[in-house]
């Protein structure tokens, strides 16, 4: 058992953050989910099936790729990319969605629901539903439906119903509210597949655990390649699941520094970004106590990011804990920096990254030149950018 493995505690707290702030109707379901999850961890057949599908269906392990031309271009530390973009459905989201779909099936649920921002988690959940033969309904903010239309159609092709949420800020936060309302109504037959390390306990723990396969593989791969651990891990942080997935396995390796990159948007003014650590404060939203972008009265502020997957007012509670302890440093990249990183990786490496992952790349572009050539950075390339191509063209004023 590692030092870090003690968290969360029995009540779902990472230090002072987390917990279970849910409507009474859902409390029994959350307790049931926690029990079922723990039981599934001890169920060897279940674990065997999950491992088998991760290998034969998701395509794991995903490669750890040495980005040689990018490294030369930046002239500093060696840059490795953990290629979650090569996982089935094109992002790390499938690791969690598949785990939860199998768990829901084991629990006898008939239907999966989920929220989605960029659409990647919606696609992953729709995929998990198709694979397990469960019904599927995906909630998506109407702004996100407009900027991620390709993913909307993918979900429909996979047999899911996509429900457009046109209230509040019309983005991920509102999709979660609507998903929770659906779950409250249909809790007896339905499992809510939370897509990130957020929401009431046990979701932040469970999603982290399903994503931790990323870091376990990356550690094995870098040791095989370089015979030593990396100096830095960098990941973008919306809710924070790809970051937790990469970081978790390295928590006790004190020499491995970790950086989480939030969305700096247009500027760090209220409503113009989604950098919770730069402009947020402690609060309780959607089932958990964490850092939020909110006004003085406690109402949630609108957010902005060029990337739909980071455009969210709150961050997973474990990240707040890791910030407090100093284990992870948090910073942000602006829309412009992320767009530059998006194009740079495409040109230098022939890889079009997701706009979310481009935020992590943007931080590496700043950091690598300051480090010597024997240093190693691993960036979690959490998703591929095909879904963003239309959106980026629009921003550049190019008609497709």
């Amino acid at each position: 058992m590692t030092m870090h493995g003690k968290f969360p505690d029995k009540r779902g707290y990472f230090g002072a953050y987390g917990g279970r702030f849910a409507p009474e109707t859902l409390m029994p379901a959350l307790e049931e989910l926690e029990r079922a999850y723990q039981a599934s961890k001890r169920d060897r057949d279940f674990q065997k099936e999950l491992r088998h599908l991760l290998r034969t269906y998701v395509g794991r392990p995903t490669p750890l790729y040495f980005a040689g031309r990018l490294t030369t271009h930046l002239g500093g530390a060696k840059i490795y990319l953990k290629r979650e973009d090569l996982a089935h459905t094109g992002a790390h989201k499938i690791n969690n969605a598949l785990g939860q779909a199998l768990l829901a099936k084991r629990m006898g649920k008939k239907r999966l629901i989920a929220e989605t921002g960029a659409g990647q988690h919606g696609v992953a959940t729709a995929t998990g539903a198709a694979l397990t033969g469960l019904e599927c309904e995906i909630y998506m903010g109407s702004d996100d439906v407009a900027r991620q239309s390709l993913n909307v159609f993918r979900m429909r092709l996979l047999g899911a119903r996509v429900v457009e949420v046109a209230i509040g800020s019309c983005t991920l936060k509102d999709a979660i509210n609507e998903g929770m309302r659906d779950w409250t109504t249909n809790v007896r037959t339905t499992h809510y597949v939370m897509g990130t390390v957020f929401g009431p306990h046990p979701f932040p723990m469970m999603v982290r655990d399903y994503q931790s396969v990323i870091g376990r593989e990356a550690k094995r791969q870098i040791l095989a390649e370089e015979k030593k651990l990396p100096d830095y891990l960098i990941a973008c942080v919306g809710g924070g699941s790809n970051a937790m997935g990469l970081f978790n396995e390295f928590m006790d390796n004190a020499d491995v520094k970790m950086i989480g990159v939030e969305a700096g948007g247009r500027s760090i003014r209220p409503g113009e970004h989604a950098a919770r650590f730069a402009g947020g404060s402690l609060g309780v939203l959607q089932g958990t106590k964490s850092y939020l972008l909110q006004d003085e009265a406690g109402n949630i502020l609108g957010t902005h990011s060029v990337s739909a997957g980071l455009d969210y007012a709150a961050v997973g509670p474990e990240h707040v804990f890791l910030k407090d302890t100093g284990r992870v440093k948090y910073t942000y990249a602006t829309d412009e920096e992320a767009l530059d990183a998006f194009e740079l990786l495409a040109r230098k490496e022939g890889i079009i990254p997701a706009l979310e992952s481009s935020h992590a790349l943007a931080e590496a572009i700043k950091l690598a030149p300051q480090l010597s050539g024997d240093r190693i950075i691993i960036i979690n390339l959490s998703g591929r950018g095909d879904k963003d191509v239309q959106h980026v063209a629009r921003i550049k004023g190019i008609e497709l």
């Binding site: 009540r11 849910a22 409507p23 009474e24 409390m27 509040g168 509210n177 109504t185 309780v284 009265a297």
Partner: protein, 258 residues
């Protein structure tokens, strides 16, 4: 005894049931809310549930979501609702509970909130996203001030949660009539009578039933099971109706709750 406790005691003596209407503070504006308090009292309300708008009301259906958005546009906050009730207390003595979401209380500061709310004359609160599991600190504060924290039970609540919630709840126990959100259509679980008997077997606290009750017929159907009936979304939909029509509707609810 709290104002809410006294009210239920008085009703029990008369063998009557509580009519508990809900309105959103500041929808469409705070002046109208003041008028509505008077109308509700005139029409036989026993306790008023006053909604405080929150940006992300995840236990509410579209009617109350939209009411909250209108009230937020009016600049209504938890602080302004506390001031509103303090002012109202100069003329009205009806028990008032607020219903909102936990972040507003958390951001205001639990200790400061209980002190300010109690001194303003707010009698209690209903916070759908604050189960007793997360409420130990605020329960201790409320206990010292005679402020009631009303917790909810749902058709999905098993025996152990019934005991936990019934023990923690102050003033009354809010029984959610449906597995769902506010304003949904009422489809009663055939086992509702057994559920409520289960609560009665572990607690003597009054039980009020709410969620999805919109017509006098529905109110009449659930009233015999409980000590009070809560009507929210259906009233929120009618706050801009001509007063005579609104009063007729409220009186019809009042007389159905027996």
């Amino acid at each position: 005894m709290s104002r809410i406790g006294a009210k239920f005691k008085e009703l029990r003596k008369k063998n009557a049931k509580a009519f508990i209407p809900y309105i959103m503070a500041g929808d469409p504006d705070i002046g109208r809310t003041r008028e509505l308090v008077t109308i509700l009292q005139d029409c036989g309300a026993d306790i008023i549930e006053l909604g405080v708008p929150f940006s992300d009301p995840l236990a509410d259906g579209p009617t109350i979501q939209k009411a909250a958005q209108r009230a937020l546009q009016q600049g209504v906050t938890l602080a302004s609702v506390i001031d509103f009730v303090a002012d109202l207390r100069k003329t009205a003595q009806i028990p008032i509970v607020i219903m909102t979401y936990y972040n507003l209380i958390f951001k205001y500061g639990e200790e400061r909130f209980i002190a300010d709310a109690a001194s303003a004359g707010i009698d209690g609160m209903i916070i759908p996203d604050l189960p007793p599991d997360e409420a130990s600190a605020i329960l201790a504060l409320a206990g010292r001030s005679g402020f009631d924290i009303i917790f909810l039970l749902a058709p999905t609540s098993p025996g152990e949660r019934i005991r936990k919630v019934a023990r923690a709840s102050g003033g009354f126990i809010y029984y959610v009539s449906i597995t769902g959100i506010t304003g949904a259509s009422l489809s009663l679980d055939p086992a509702i009578g057994e559920h409520i008997a289960g609560i009665r077997s572990v607690s003597k606290k009054p039980i009020a039933i709410g969620f999805g009750i919109s017509t006098p017929e529905e109110a009449a159907a659930v009233a015999p099971l409980a000590d009070g009936v809560i009507v929210g979304s259906a009233i929120v939909k009618r706050v801009n109706d001509p007063d005579e029509e609104l009063r007729r509707y409220l009186v019809s609810l009042r007389s159905a709750i027996r």
